[in-house]
Structure formats: C-alpha cells, structure tokens
Symmetry: C2
Subunit: 455 residues, 2 copies
C-alpha cells in the first residue's frame, strides 16, 4: 500500500523542493567544455541524494560526462525490474538577457519555479528520486526492483550512453523503462506518450576567398558565403513548408487512422496556441494540423547562423566564411544517418560555385513509437487517474529522447514516457519553468505507479 | 620649383614613417562607441602634426567624431585653392585571430607595413601632410592655397560631414578636391579614378514567436526567423547573379563604349586575380568582366548574419529572431534613398507569414563619376608620370567615398581621386598593409602635384 508513502511526500515536500533548488543551482551545461566540472558536480550531488534515499550508487566515468547508476534489487525475482532514466545535464541558458531571473537561481513566481533544468530534466528526474525515498522511508522496501540511470549528455546527443548501455546490458536488464522528461497535454490533463521525434543535427560551414574582403573593392566578383548560405538554407524547404531535400520523405511512415483520429479528438485550440506564441499566423507543412506537424511529421529548422560582422554599426566586409546550425526532427522510420547522407548530397548539389561547403554531424537520435498494449501503460493510466483525478490522454511529443529506442532494443524492455511539465514551460529557451503543483502531484503519481507495477 | 621639397622628403622619410606609426597605434574605430576617446585622440594627434607642418588648425566638434580642418591661404588670390580630404577613423579590426601581427602595432614585413589604417586611410592622408610640410619647410610657402579636412566618420557613413560641409561652405570654398583613399591599378602602375561606387547599407531584423522555443516541442508549427531570413536573402539575387530587387536596375546608367573599351584594355589577369583570392572560380553578374563587375555594375552583399545559437555544440533552439547586415554598392545614377525604398518593398513582399520584418538604414553614399577634362587631371597625370616613371591609367573604384559627390555639389569644385595603395592591401580585412615604397614615391608625387596646380 502506498498510503504511508504518499503521506511522507506531503510531510516532506518543502524539503524536497529545497533539495531540488540546490540541484538546479549547479550549471551542468553539457554542451560547454568550461562547465565540465559543474556537470560532474551535478552527478556527484545526485549520487549523494540517491544514497540518502537508500539506493546503492555508482558513478561510471565515460569519455564525456559520467553516468550515475542507482540500484535497489531486493524486491525479489518475481517483482518486475524498472529502469528509471533521466538526465542531470541542461541546455545552455543563452540568451541570458532574456531571463527575468538568473537561470541558475531557482525563483518562485505565481506557482511556478523558474530555472534552467526545472522541467528538462532535473526537476522531473528528482521527482522519481523522492518517490523512491518515500517508499523506502515508510515501508523499508520498494514494490519493484529499481535501476535509476541518470546521464549527463542528453542535451548533446547521449553519445557515450549508447555504448554504456551496450556494455552494461546484463547489469541493466529490466522489464520496463520509465522516463519523465516530457509534458502533460495541458494543465490538469496528464498524459502518456505514444511517440517521440528523432533528431539529426548538423553544422554547415562555407568558405569563400582567402580572407574577409572589402565589399567595395571586391564586391561583385567573388561568391559571398553569406549569400551562398542563404541560398542553401532557403533551398531546404519548398513553398508548401515541406522539406525539399531529395529523398527526405522516403522513410516517413504514414500513421494509422486511429492515431490521427486520436490526435484530432484532443482539445487543442489552434488560436490560443498561436496567441500564446505571439505570432500572427501558424505555419508549417501544408495539409497537416499543428499537432500532426508537431508529433507525426518531420521538420527542418535553422538553430543558428553566424557570418561576417554582427557587431554595432556598418562594417563593409565581404565575409569569407559562414556557418549555420541546422537540425531535423525525425519521425518513424527515418534515421539520422540517412538524413545526414541526404543533406550532404543536397548541399553538394546546391552550393554556388566559388564556395566550399562542409556538413558536420553534431548529433542525432532515432524517433520512437510506443507499444501501447500491456501492463505498463495500464499501471500508468491508473496511477495518473488516481493522482490527478482524471484519466490520462495519449499524446505525441515533438522533442527527442535519443536513448529510448536504444533502451528498448538493447534491454528488450518496453518504455513508458510520462511527463509532468506543461506546454509553454520554455524548455531550451529563456525563463524555463515547472509548475510547483505538478511537482507534488507528480511525485504522488510516481509513488502509485511503482506500487501498481509491483502488485 | 619642387626640387628642394623633394630632397626634404628623402632626408626625412624615416621620421615621417615613425610619425605615421604613432598615428596608426591609436585605435580610432569610429563604429564602436567604446573607442570614441581614441577616435578623438587621433583627431588631436593629427591636428598637432598639421600645426607642426605650418598650417592653422581647428578641431570642429560634431554630434559624432570631430572634423579636423587645417588651412594655409597665403598663396594669393590667383592661386587655386585645393581641399585635401581624408579620414582618420578606421574599420573595426575583427576577426582579431586572423591578424599575423597586432592591428594597432605597425609591423614591417617584406617592404610592407601592416596595421589597420595603413592604406585606409591614415597612411595616405598622412602622405599629404608630409608633402605640405616639405613645401613649407623648404620654400616657406605652398604653391596653392590649401584646406586639409580630415573626418572621423568615413567608415560609418560620414553622417555629420555632410551638414558640416553645408554649414561651412563659404569657408571651404575651393577649386579642387584631392583625395587619396584608393588603389593604384597595380604595382608600378599609378592611376587616377574615373568613378566610385556608392553604398546603401541596411540591417534586416526578423522577429517570430514571443521568445526562443524548443525546436522539438514547437518545430514545424511556427515560422522560423532563421529559415525566413535565408529565404529573404536568397531572394535578393536571381540565378544569373543579378540583383532581384524589383526596380533595382532602373537607375543604372549604361556606360559609354569608350569607358568600357578603356576597361577592356587594362592588363587585368582574371586567373591571377582568382588565384590570389584563393577561390575556385570568380562569379558575379552574368555578361560582365570582373573589372566591370567591380567598377560599373552594382552589387548586393551580405555583410553579416546573426541568428539563434552560434556557440559550441548543439542547442536545439527554434530562434525567435534573426538579423542580417546587407549592403549594396551603387553606380550612377542610383541613390541610397531609392534603393532603400526598393529593398523595403521587396522584403515586405517576400517575408514569410508569421514573421515580422524591419529594414533599418545604417548608412549610404552616392556613386561618383569624374570630370576627366581639365587642369586637375592633367596636373595629376604629369605628377604621377614624373614620380613613378610611367603615365597613370584611368580606373574605376569599387569602394565608396560618400562625401565626394557632396563636395562637388556643395563647393562647386572638381574632385581628383589619386590613391597609392595596391590591390590586395586587405582594406576592411585582417592584415591590412601599405607598400613602403609607395609611401615615399607617393609623397613625391603629391609634392609635384601641388607644384603643378600652383604654376
């Protein structure tokens, strides 16, 4: 029974929050080498809290940031084993000037806590830690065997986690993988995910003349990598919002009518969504609704461009280099490897004469589709309904958690993705936040979930 | 007679160089507010050297950087008055890492002096100062009445010089304007300019959603300003290298066959030019040679682009803003005002739905075409032939000196543009340099020029 554990959560909620805020104060920005020590510090901090909760913990070094692995396996051979996965690294906070409070100083406003990592993913990961603590503190045991695996490279492509999982496949053997790194469909509407998009992230580097040149003394006679980059980036879409890279849609699976019906049935207000984003109109691939564009259709977005002089004033330079970061969100059955091949061929085809192009792969992850039949989704449905007072909906997720497919394949387990953030939580953007109410209700839901999986 | 003055130049050349290097050490970067004090310091330094040479000097404050005005008017009412124009401000030195020696520490290598401003324009301006000094030190007088006007805002559009000239038109009354802020056609081939291109410089700012967004959670449903900017910039050219802004060529004058023949007759090696720039092929507007593309045809170049995340690693951000600096080189009879109107209309027409665009005018200058008949060009031709041992050629100049047209109109004077830098001097680029030999020979040519104009 989970009553004692749930009571424990109520009693200790204030402490849980204080601990989380300490976690959030560590700037574990995995993308930036200068934050490597902080990223490690976040791993060590998390390991200590797992020990405090009653788990056995190892910190595994990798060529990148370490993997934290907590374990409790005394539920017996008949109880299922659940691998809880999360990540303690965060996105870079830039642009800093757009934050209303410092990104690494958690600040409560209007029932929300603002800080980088509140939603993605320290806050949600820590909810699992506290749910485990609640069981162990009150019952002296967990209803299931647990592995808690937290990595520090999710935001940079989980490069070293894939080989880690392969090497430790026996030790990581489990029945279910549970991940909280996503949103509920809306406030008060808990959800379980039926899909994740994958990711293929590249940098395109162009080089023109031997150096920057005077735009008057040379302008008109040599190709300008800035103009050339614009032509290449513009060529990535057609006039209907479709990706114009040859072969890009060859591997895109058509979704069944049941799924599309389920998406259409969700109470999604396109006008409210548009207004919340403060755009005059929504856009995207012709022929699809916004939710379809987000969940079951692939994209191509510029993530950054840098070329020439970008400071104050007018520098009349003809730049000799230009760079763009470009990423694609993928859907089943696309793979980042194939998309990389197609992009390279496309850039080769369209790059103007007199400019050299190089396409560098930064990282990628495969898309994922849930197995919706079975004990895992049933238990989650019951736990969420009890905690939130309403049955969860099934939804897709436009973001990527690259490791999910790898877990399922390498560990022969089924994955459950159940998240507690909300749309608009500003993941990967300034002023990331998490609803304080969901921190509490979500821990309760997880306490129940473990109980149901173990019964 | 100029023999004594020429001898004086030989005798004092080493001191002239040392003085110039002091001038070059002052980082008078007019585009950057944090260098305002240094820019003023350069003006004050120059004023002192003009006084040392024997001129009466005033520093005129403007709302921007000051105007230095030297004067010597004792040649009598029958002697012509020559206004020498130059500028003491310089371009920003970025990217700093590409300089082989510090941009503000003049360094001699292989018969060249490397530093920001050596060619553009401190070095060439200072040659005039020293030619005047040579006359005054040896003859006690100048052959012509002289006004030497040096501004500190040429690199940012001479915004305050135009009203200054208008306000001081009487005081600045002159017969000729002489400017050395350009190249010779080639080493050993002095030249006089028959044209300058104008400039129209803009920033295009795009805004999409309320803030940066997660490219997974929102990608596919809202317009991406980075992609939109690429489409806008790509739309500025057609597939033949022509500017595709509607109406852009309406004001472009066709040049006479004599000018085009003169251009074709110049010994210009397209292959060597291409190799020197280290590009696989030259490019530009179809149907024109490189020299025509540089001198008598307009251009559109991206000068800078900034959008989203440009640091290390993969940030999966859907940016909400994008900015490009874009400039056009203009030819007679285009005007920056008209080009600005056309660009605004074009951007309005092509900006994708869901993105707001703003076009900001940074600065502009009209193109110029020389009056080749008369005493001014004759005197320059003789002076250059005597100094360099070969008659000068007539050439165009792809760069812009916005004030030239204003001088001619407001002062009813004719302008002579005679420069001593060389192609490849890296103006506006890293490793700007000036040939030491031309510093000496050029001062000699200017000593002769003043003598001929006064005789």
């Amino acid at each position: 029974m989970s009553a004692e554990a749930l009571h424990f959560v109520d009693e200790h909620l204030s402490r849980f929050r204080d601990e989380l805020y300490d976690f959030l104060r560590i700037p574990s920005i995995s993308a930036k080498p200068e934050y490597a020590q902080d990223t490690r510090r976040a791993a060590e901090w998390l390991a200590e809290r797992l020990k405090d909760a009653g788990l056995h913990v190892d910190i595994h070094d990798t060529p990148g940031h370490p993997v934290v692995l907590g374990r409790w396996d005394e539920a017996g051979p008949d109880a299922p084993t659940v691998l809880i996965y999360g990540h303690y690294d965060v996105q870079p906070p830039e642009p800093l000037e757009e934050w209303d409070s410092p990104p690494f100083e958690p600040t409560e406003r209007d029932g929300r806590v603002y800080a980088r990592g509140t939603a993605d993913d320290k806050g949600q990961l820590y909810m699992h830690v506290k749910a485990l603590e609640a069981w162990l503190a009150t019952e002296g045991r967990l209803p299931v065997n647990v592995l808690l695996l937290a990595e520090g490279e999710e935001e940079v492509g989980s490069e070293h986690l894939v080989p880690f999982v392969a090497e430790h496949a026996e030790e990581l053997a489990c029945d279910h993988v549970v991940i909280s790194d996503s949103n509920m469909f809306a406030e008060g509407m808990p959800s379980v995910l039926f899909s994740l998009r994958g990711l293929a992230y590249f940098e395109i580097h162009l080089t023109g003349a031997r150096s920057d040149l005077h735009s008057g003394q040379f302008g008109g006679t040599v190709a300008n990598p800035g103009n050339a980059l614009a032509r290449i980036l513009a060529s990535l879409h057609d006039d209907h919002g479709r990706v114009a890279v040859e072969g890009f849609y060859d591997d895109v699976a058509d979704w069944d009518e049941e799924t599309r019906d389920r998406i259409r049935a969700l109470p999604f207000d396109e006008d409210a969504y548009r207004d919340e984003l403060e755009v005059s109109t929504l856009s995207g691939e012709a022929g699809y609704s916004s939710l379809e564009r987000l969940w079951i259709r692939p994209t191509c977005d510029v993530n950054g461009i840098l070329c020439g002089y970008t400071g104050e004033g007018a520098k009349t330079v003809l730049p000799n280099r230009a760079m763009a970061k470009v990423s694609f969100r993928l859907v089943p059955d696309q793979t980042p490897e194939r998309v990389g091949e197609l992009l390279r061929a496309h850039v080769e085809r369209v790059v103007p004469a007199g400019v050299r192009a190089e396409v560098r792969t930064l990282h990628g992850g495969r898309p994922w589709r849930a197995d919706l039949d079975g004990r895992l989704v049933d238990a989650a449905t019951e736990a969420l309904e009890e905690a939130f007072g309403t049955a969860p909906v099934l939804q897709g997720e436009g973001g990527s958690i690259p490791i999910v497919s790898d877990f399922e394949e390498q560990l022969d387990a089924s994955a459950l993705l159940v998240g507690f953030a909300l749309p608009g939580c500003n993941l990967h953007a300034p002023n990331e936040w998490f609803p304080l109410e969901n921190f509490e209700t979500g821990i309760g839901a997880l306490v129940r979930l473990y109980g149901k999986l173990g019964s």
